[in-house]
């Protein structure tokens, strides 16, 4: 009975291999039931995203590493030797640590990205709906969700744009608040212009105007973006109607001079103008940024912001790791306290067996007593056993350290020769694991 995390991720496997190992393609239900059919896990959750495919399992199968590896390769029609060098395996608390890091976005390609937590939640929900989860996975995944939330709330790991287009949009939001109802003007009809346009359109801006030296090119892009093409000659009008201007032309000389922007700024009064110059060489004269109410950012500025945000995120890693460590410790304590349960059950059964056999041995002497007195004796002996076991049971349940669990189990096994009762105890323990989802066993 142990917790395992086995799989491939962007850290261990190249994209070509990750593309092949994708349980989601044929349906998660199929993958989960295939795993269950092979007896690979009493509890199972499969997480499959474009950057990782991971199986979380509670199993007592021998040598689960190769079993899961073989399953993964066979299921996807690959050779085991192709997959095995790229597999990672984590056991027990390390498996929990891995999942917590994944859920918090610490293991993601872009550190701190928020989507992964949702994907982990979906993976758990799917497994839960199909009744592949149990007490251990329930607790494990709910702890993982809590870790994800805590890292988000208590660190700056997910903060700050880490792509140029997102940095531009968040800047615009900081200036204008909501982008709905704003006018956007795009200069240029090339690939960069198109990309940025798509990004801004997603923000539901009111008006998207596209101007290019060749009107036909502007019209093509306008159709694509559901915007409006503007002839180059009426650029001043388009400029005064815009709140955000994006320049991405291939011109070698500045398209927007300071004088040109100054002209449109006067009638605008205090309405700010956000100019994003993503062209190389630059389309906007740099000193236009000195104008009051003009915010001018070029591609280098935006890349600088992205770089800073990346660095800041990296600076938050320690804090996030501390949260993960704290939660892993808590989870491990709970998990280990569960591991001692079979021993506790065995110990109790041992004592009960002694009581029963003593009662049976004394049966000839007791048979003469009236039924009330016999009931009394039964009750007293039962209470005696309970009293004797009360403190040891409590102490055992409080053991949370893995090595201590082993030490105590060993000691009890020898002191009370529990080994013979072990088989029975295991079955008793197993019943515990089939409790309703989410129910705690140890407390």
């Amino acid at each position: 009975m142990r917790l395992y995390a086995v799989g491939v991720s962007h850290r261990t496997a190249p994209v070509e291999l990750r593309e092949c190992i994708d349980f989601a393609r044929q349906g998660m239900d199929r993958a989960l039931s295939a795993l269950a059919e092979r007896g690979l896990g009493r509890e199972l959750v499969v997480l499959s995203t474009c950057n990782r495919t991971e199986i979380y399992a509670v199993t007592d199968a021998e040598g689960p590493e190769s079993l899961f590896g073989r399953f993964m390769s066979e299921y996807h029609g690959l050779g085991y030797d192709v997959v095995s060098p790229h597999l990672f395996v984590h056991r027990g608390a390390d498996a929990a640590r891995h999942l917590f890091r994944v859920a918090a976005g610490l293991d993601s390609l872009v550190v701190g990205e928020p989507q992964i937590l949702g994907q982990v939640k979906d993976a758990y929900a799917t497994a839960n709906d199909l009744k592949h989860t149990g007490a251990l996975t329930n607790r494990l995944f709910h702890s993982a969700f809590a870790v994800g939330k805590r890292v988000r709330a208590e660190t700056g790991l997910g903060e700050g744009a880490v792509s140029v287009s997102y940095a531009a949009v968040s800047l615009a939001k900081k200036i204008f608040g909501d982008l709905k109802g704003l006018g956007v003007l795009i200069l240029g009809a090339g690939e960069m212009a198109k990309l940025t346009g798509v990004h801004l359109q997603a923000q539901q801006v009111k008006q998207l105007a596209i101007a290019s030296r060749t009107l036909a090119a502007a019209e093509t892009l306008a159709r694509h973006l559901n915007g409006r093409a503007v002839p180059w000659a009426s650029l001043p009008d388009a400029l005064s109607a815009a709140d955000i201007v994006i320049t991405a032309t291939g011109a070698t000389e500045p398209v927007l001079t300071r004088a040109r922007i100054e002209d449109v700024m006067r009638p605008r009064r205090s309405r700010p103008l956000f100019v994003i110059d993503i062209a190389v060489p630059r389309d906007v004269e740099a000193n236009a940024g000195d104008l009051d109410q003009v915010f001018l950012y070029n591609i280098d500025d935006l890349q600088g912001i992205v770089k800073e945000n990346m660095a800041r995120r990296a600076g938050e890693l320690d804090r996030a790791d501390a949260i993960v460590a704290e939660e892993v410790e808590r989870f491990a304590a709970w998990m280990h306290s569960r591991e001692i349960i079979p021993t506790v059950v065995a110990l109790r059964q041992r004592f009960e067996a002694i009581r029963q056999s003593e009662l049976a041995r004394l049966e000839p002497k007791l048979s003469g007593l009236p039924p009330e007195a016999r009931a009394r004796i039964d009750e007293i002996t039962h209470l005696l056993v309970e009293k004797l076991l009360l403190t040891p049971t409590e102490q055992l349940k409080a053991v949370s350290d893995e090595t201590m669990v082993v030490t105590y189990t060993d000691a009890l096994n020898r002191l009370f020769s529990l080994a013979d009762d072990r088989g029975k105890a295991e079955r008793g323990g197993r019943r515990n694991h089939e409790e309703a989802p989410g129910q705690k066993v140890s407390s």
Binding site: G156, G177, Y297, I305
Partner: protein
Amino acid sequence: MVSWLPFLFYLGAAILYFTHFARRDRRAGRLATGLLAGGVLAHTFLIGMQTVEAGHAPLVGTTAAVSAFVWLLGLSYLYVELTTDERAMGVFVSAILAGLAVLPAFSPDLEPRPPLLQSPLFTIHVLTMLFAYASFALAFVLGVTYVLLFKEIKAKQLGFFYARLPSLQTLDVMNGRAITVGWIFLTVGVAVGGIWATQIHASTDPHARAMSVADPKILVALLCWAMYSFALVARRAIGWSGRRAAWLSTIGFVIVLLNFVPVGYFLTRSHNF
């Protein structure tokens, strides 16, 4: 002891708002709002007790007026925070609250009400003026934060304030609202004050005799009114929003504060009750 209670609450709120702002600790933020609400509640209780004790609203003298101002500012800020769900201004507002609440905490004894002030017009005048000042205090905080954020974005040094403040647009709109509300109350307050001054003109009280435009308190109040009227007109007619409006509301509030405390305590001869 009871007179210290609001101050202690405001101070606690200021410390927690600072923690919230500096470390972006949400729990500290929620706790700060709670403490501020507690402070306003304790303050309400205190003012209520004083009203019952004296038989009239405790508005006589600059200290009592400062206390009422703090109470109104706390109340209006709480309203703004709860309706906009924006806690970033709290650090500035609570600093003003804690700073000013020291004065009434130190001298909690109410001054007796001279017969001259036994008019409902006096109560209306003081309350409307104080509410106007509270609005201007909010506008001031919004203006200062606007300028701080504006400078960061303009200089392409996105940092401390960028991560903490709402958008420039939001700050500007809220600033405009605060000034409009403040101006309306200031106008009513000045008008009521004027009417009341003419009513008591025949009195032999030296205060009443000093009620003229030449008195520093009245002069500066009229200057304030002119200043905020200009800010209001400039925003609508010539588009002075954003940074210019922010500067106007900053200068305006500095005048308000000067008029309120130093002029109120040391210079005026008509308003030194």
